[in-house]
């Protein structure tokens, strides 16, 4: 069971309540909620906010691939996964990503949650532009995208 979405922050905010509703089931005994938030410091600079940019369709495709790999690579068959990522300008403390997973047991829930965020970092085309106190802004360098070759 998978839910994925890119949320334009002008329309709504990411919600842990919605994530909980989606993954909640008596089939699962372990749930993990991960959220990423905008913090006030990076590389010794005072950050006041971040603009997130996204290639929406390619991001959703990458989320689906990561979900399917959980079967093949991690052998976790029974699971519910909720992934939402924000797009647009976020203030300090606002939530940029929610990953909620539910599995039968805690071991696989921890592994799965960590696997998803690390893979998103490697291969989901999302970019951050940091805004600083002196009215400057910079796109973060990032890493070249990793992808499965066709």
């Amino acid at each position: 069971m998978l839910h994925t979405k890119i949320i334009n922050i002008k329309d709504k905010k990411l919600s842990i309540v919605e994530a909980e509703k989606f993954i909640s089931s008596s089939d699962f005994g372990a749930s993990i909620f991960f959220s990423g938030t905008v913090r006030n410091q990076n590389n010794n600079k005072s950050v006041i906010g971040i603009t997130y940019d996204s290639h929406d369709s390619l991001v959703i495709k990458s989320f689906e691939e990561i979900y399917n790999e959980a079967d093949k690579k991690l052998g976790i068959k029974d699971k519910a996964i909720f992934i939402e990522h924000a797009k647009g300008y976020l203030d300090l403390g606002e939530v940029s990503i929610i990953i909620a997973v539910a599995c039968k047991h805690r071991d696989e829930a921890y592994i799965l949650s960590r696997y998803i965020i690390e893979e998103i970092k490697k291969r989901s085309p999302i970019w951050k532009k940091e805004h600083y106190q002196n009215n400057e802004a910079d796109w973060l360098k990032g890493n070249p995208i990793q992808y499965e070759k066709n």
Binding site: S54, K121, I126, W139, G142
Partner: protein, 109 residues
């Protein structure tokens, strides 16, 4: 009035050059958004051009418009390209009016 012979030669060549060109639309994402005020670049490329040629064409564009801004050049050289939600290789052949996306180095979460 009859055209001089050189004029007819030039016009034929010009027509050939025009026929030989096609358009590609480059959708901009992340750091490459600084390449333009628009969300995309529209470039003229030769028929049969590959992603490798498009990459060079973007570098030419940056040279003209941003005096070869080194940071921008690095972005182009480290970017991937995407068509129809697939990452494509440098040998991928572009078709006329194809929309492709430039995917600079990523880092969400």
């Amino acid at each position: 009035m009859e055209k001089p012979r050189w004029a007819s030669r030039i016009s034929k060549r010009t027509i050939l050059v025009i026929i030989n060109l096609m358009k590609v639309i480059i959708e901009l994402f992340g750091a490459s958004r600084d390449f333009s005020d628009q969300n995309s670049l529209e470039l003229d490329i030769e028929n049969g051009s590959s992603i490798k040629d498009v990459r060079n064409k973007i570098l030419d564009y940056l040279d003209i418009n941003f005096k070869g801004n080194e940071n921008f050049i690095k972005i182009v050289n480290s970017s991937a390209f995407c068509s129809n939600d697939n990452i494509i290789s440098d040998n991928y052949k572009i078709t006329n009016n194809e929309k492709i996306a430039i995917i600079p180095p990523i880092g969400g979460g």
